[in-house]
């Protein structure tokens, strides 16, 4: 090339190179450090964030999970390493081997080792912790430290959701602090919140319902990019206003304000279905003990309309198999009992009932059922009341205080009741809410095949086979209908977009549907 061109090129090229060298580095994804992030909650106080003192509800565990960690964890897609880098299941021995990280320190500087894992398991077996059951079907028979950073857990019996229910939920506590502590609830000082998590507790106020977390600089995944997290108490009605005003960065919002929040520039996320509202039926009492009668009830209640009217469209109609249509475990062939009042009437007539003046009677007695529910289910109850009366079943609907309803259901002193529960991410919930004792369970053991399947799915370690079992369970359960799932409500959170909040796959830990995963706050 001629000297002139060379000159021109160098005059342009070199500055261009220099400029691009200056500009390019900032084009790579640099996460801006955030000094403070505020999360609003209407209850506020969920207990001291230590494994034995946080209140026995999802939000209590969530706050603790920023300070204490588990062997494995989950992000938006599935299991990820936490304190364990690798793990494998040894089928012949029914044991899990966890290879632990060697660069983890407790908040007080001590090194984390396999000894802490073994200690935690032994301690929590003798000092039961509500969120993790280490005895029984989900239990660990023995925990051995093979070396400083390898631990082997021998299970009591094959337990399919072990990683989900136990390894991903059990908060590991430091041996050097908890050793010799007889009463775990007596530990309420700063030593009780020494964990391995990305945040340390700087302050907690019970009466104000506030928490202050500060980033733990020596966290093994690197210093969290959010320096400080504040949990504050704001009433349910004021959270949307606080979000718009900017005094709060994230919080749960009612479905009605979703569009308003989006218009204000906030990001709105919705939880994968975790919770259902059920019509609990006293299947030990006549006439509800008859399968046909219960099926008639299902045909008589228009669950689609129920969602439209009582939930103003913010929900999904319930599937009689309990597992929601949005779940990977959903069986599309589950009988749905689409709204058919004529079919309902036919079933009742088949049982010997006759319509007299618009209501069904048998042997001269009018068919009347009592429906009880807590006040928050008032509209749902009124809707069901109306639908059943249209078919010809007289209903006496009453709202009562929550624990009074629970006590009556526990004592089988009811006909119909409305109750809701979560945990729908993992099929292990099915056995608990269908077969187990307690007012929050249907306590239905009359179908041997169903009972057998419910037990079998817990220990089926092969994913495909387990799915088959869960499919069968839904079909039989929907056929027998000891309780009817009415609807699944939709839940929303709104946030300012500074932190990528997400809903953990299958819920946080054992199935908590709150989008506060500590991984969102770590690079």
């Amino acid at each position: 090339m001629s000297k002139k061109v060379l000159n021109l090129v160098s005059k342009l090229l070199i500055p261009a190179v220099i400029v691009s060298l200056l500009v390019l580095p900032s084009c790579t994804t640099e996460i801006t450090e955030i000094s403070s992030y505020t999360i609003a909650d209407s209850t506020g106080d969920w207990g001291y964030p230590s494994p034995y003192t946080h209140y026995s509800r999802g939000p209590g565990y969530t706050r603790m999970s920023f300070i204490f960690e588990t062997l494995v964890w989950k992000d938006a897609s599935g299991f990820v390493p936490a304190l364990a880098e690798e793990w494998e299941y040894v089928a012949e021995e029914n044991a899990y081997i966890f290879e632990l990280r060697n660069n983890v320190t407790w908040h007080d500087g001590e090194k984390f080792t396999a000894e802490d894992v073994v200690f935690t398991i032994d301690y929590m077996k003798t000092h039961p912790n509500p969120f993790v059951t280490l005895i029984g079907p989900s239990g660990v028979r023995e925990a051995i430290a093979i070396d400083n950073y390898t631990v082997k857990l021998y299970l009591e019996q094959p337990y399919a959701p072990f990683l989900h229910d136990v390894a991903g939920t059990l908060a590991i506590i430091p041996k050097h602090i908890w050793e010799g502590v007889d009463d775990p609830k007596s530990l309420t000082g700063p030593e009780a919140v020494i964990g391995t998590g990305p945040y340390i507790l700087a302050d907690y106020s019970k009466e104000h319902g506030t928490y202050l977390y500060e980033a733990y600089d020596d966290y093994y995944l690197g210093e969290p990019f959010v320096d400080e997290i504040k949990f504050v108490k704001v009433s349910e009605e004021m959270i949307p206003a606080a979000l718009k005003e900017g005094s709060v960065s994230a919080g749960d919002i009612p479905p009605e304000v979703v569009s308003e929040m989006e218009e204000a520039g906030l990001t709105v996320i919705t939880a994968p279905i975790a919770w259902n509202a059920k019509l609990t039926i006293n299947h030990r009492k006549e006439p509800l003990s008859s399968k046909q009668f219960r099926q008639a009830l299902a045909y008589a209640i228009d669950r689609e309309a129920l969602v439209q009217i009582t939930q103003r469209g913010h929900g999904i109609a319930g599937s009689p198999g309990m597992i929601p249509p949005t779940s990977d475990w959903y069986n599309p062939d589950t009988p749905q009992y689409e709204y058919d009042p004529a079919e309902a009437k036919q079933l009742l007539e088949g049982l010997g009932y006759e319509l007299e003046d618009g209501y069904f009677t048998k042997d001269g007695e009018e068919l009347e059922l009592e429906l009880i529910a807590e006040a928050s289910f008032k509209e749902v109850g009124q809707f069901i009341n109306q639908q059943l009366e249209e078919v010809g079943i007289k209903v006496d609907f009453r709202t009562m205080e929550a624990k009074t309803v629970d006590a009556k259901v526990e004592a089988w002193d009811f006909d119909l009741s409305i109750y809701g529960h979560g945990g729908l991410y993992e099929p292990s919930i099915l056995k608990r809410v269908i077969m187990d004792e307690g007012f929050n369970s249907t306590r239905y053991t009359s179908n041997e095949k169903l009972s057998q399947l419910l037990e079998a799915q817990l220990s089926e370690m092969n994913a495909e086979k387990r799915k088959e079992l869960v499919f069968q369970i839904q079909e039989i359960y929907a056929e027998d209908l000891p309780a009817l799932t009415l609807y699944y409500p939709k839940w929303y959170w709104a946030h300012d977009g500074n932190v990528n909040l997400f809903y953990t796959k299958d819920g946080l830990a054992s199935g908590i549907p709150i989008p506060l995963n500590r991984l969102s706050f770590v690079k």
Partner: protein
């Protein structure tokens, strides 16, 4: 004035209240186990967990034994340990009590004082337009529940105008201290106090107004007027003082409500208070907290009544004791 008979009466009342406080919560259907742990589907109530909890809550011991234990700890000055809050009852209640006293105490003072003054002025001008307007206005205000007024004030001044904060007793972790902190607390206190004051204004007002009307007809008022005393002296020193008595009595009764009376306002403003604590404890069947709060209410009612008894002769020298 403070005779032995009086003391005996108060003691009997106190003991009776203690027994009631113990028995009533336990008569509610359900138990703490069900209430605290039963609701969460992710918690499996295993036999081991249940056994541990039953032991911790002493639910398996006979009632009289439980009461005995409660009575003994009470005399040691301890109020027991909360089932739900995992903390000593005394510390849970004391954490919130100052805020409750601040909130309800302030609004009680304002609503009583304002009610008395408005009642006096209204009664003095009975039948006039001012009187009728005040009567109508305060009666309609009385119709609104306190939380509704709270919501209106919060939306108007907190959300729309943005002058006042939306929640809490103070700005959490603001690092403020001294005067700045006091101002922050006052800013957070303003709307809830306004809501409670406005909601309860009518009580003091109506009572004072009615008593005022009766008092104004008294012969001594005519004498006072004839003496040529100023309007202010007539209204406040002569008529007002005599019209105050019913309100003072009422306030004494209300002292019992100071502790738990602001439940809904606490909810709306996310204000820490004993009212909401009581509500949550009732739902959770947290017997130790319920007993603790009821005890506090009982003591404050007894003390308030005692103080009223003492102050009555000073307010109205005509009152004497028949004992």
């Amino acid at each position: 004035m403070f005779s032995k008979r009086n003391l005996v009466a108060y003691t009997i009342a106190f003991l009776f209240i203690l027994v009631l406080n113990f028995a009533l919560p336990r008569m509610m259907p359900g138990d703490p186990l069900m209430a605290i742990y039963g609701d969460e589907a992710l918690i499996a109530m295993t036999p081991e967990l249940k056994a541990q909890l039953v032991e911790r809550f002493a639910l398996d011991k006979p009632l009289w034994q439980q009461f005995g234990a409660y009575f003994l700890t009470l005399f040691q000055g301890k109020l027991g340990y909360s089932y739900y809050y995992n903390a000593p009852v005394l510390s849970v209640i004391l954490g919130r009590l100052p805020w409750t006293l601040l909130l309800v105490g302030t609004s009680l003072v304002f609503s009583t004082m304002l009610g008395i003054i408005l009642g006096i002025e209204s009664g003095w001008r009975r039948g006039s337009r001012t009187d009728r307007a005040m009567l109508a206005g305060l009666m309609s205000l009385n119709g609104f529940p306190d939380f509704f007024l709270g919501m209106l004030l919060l939306i108007a001044f907190g959300v729309t105008l943005g002058i006042f904060p939306l929640a809490g007793a103070l700005t959490p972790y603001s690092g403020l201290s001294g005067l700045a902190l006091v101002l922050d607390i006052l800013r957070h206190l303003f709307l809830p106090v306004a809501a409670l004051t406005l909601a309860h204004l009518a009580n003091g007002y109506l009572l004072t107004r009615n008593t005022m009307i009766t008092v104004l007809k008294e012969p001594y008022m005519l004498t006072a007027k004839a003496k040529g005393l100023s309007q202010r002296v007539l209204k406040y020193r002569h008529a007002g003082r005599n019209s105050m008595l019913p309100v003072v009595t009422q306030t004494g009764i209300w002292m019992g409500r100071v502790v738990t009376g602001a439940l809904f306002v606490e909810l709306v403003f996310a204000y820490p208070g004993v009212g909401y604590l009581t509500y949550e404890a009732l739902l959770a069947r947290d017997y130790p907290i319920i007993q603790g709060v009821f005890l506090l209410v009982a003591i404050s009612v007894l003390v308030a009544n005692f103080l009223i008894d003492l102050s009555y002769p000073k307010l109205d020298p005509r009152v004497s004791y028949a004992y």
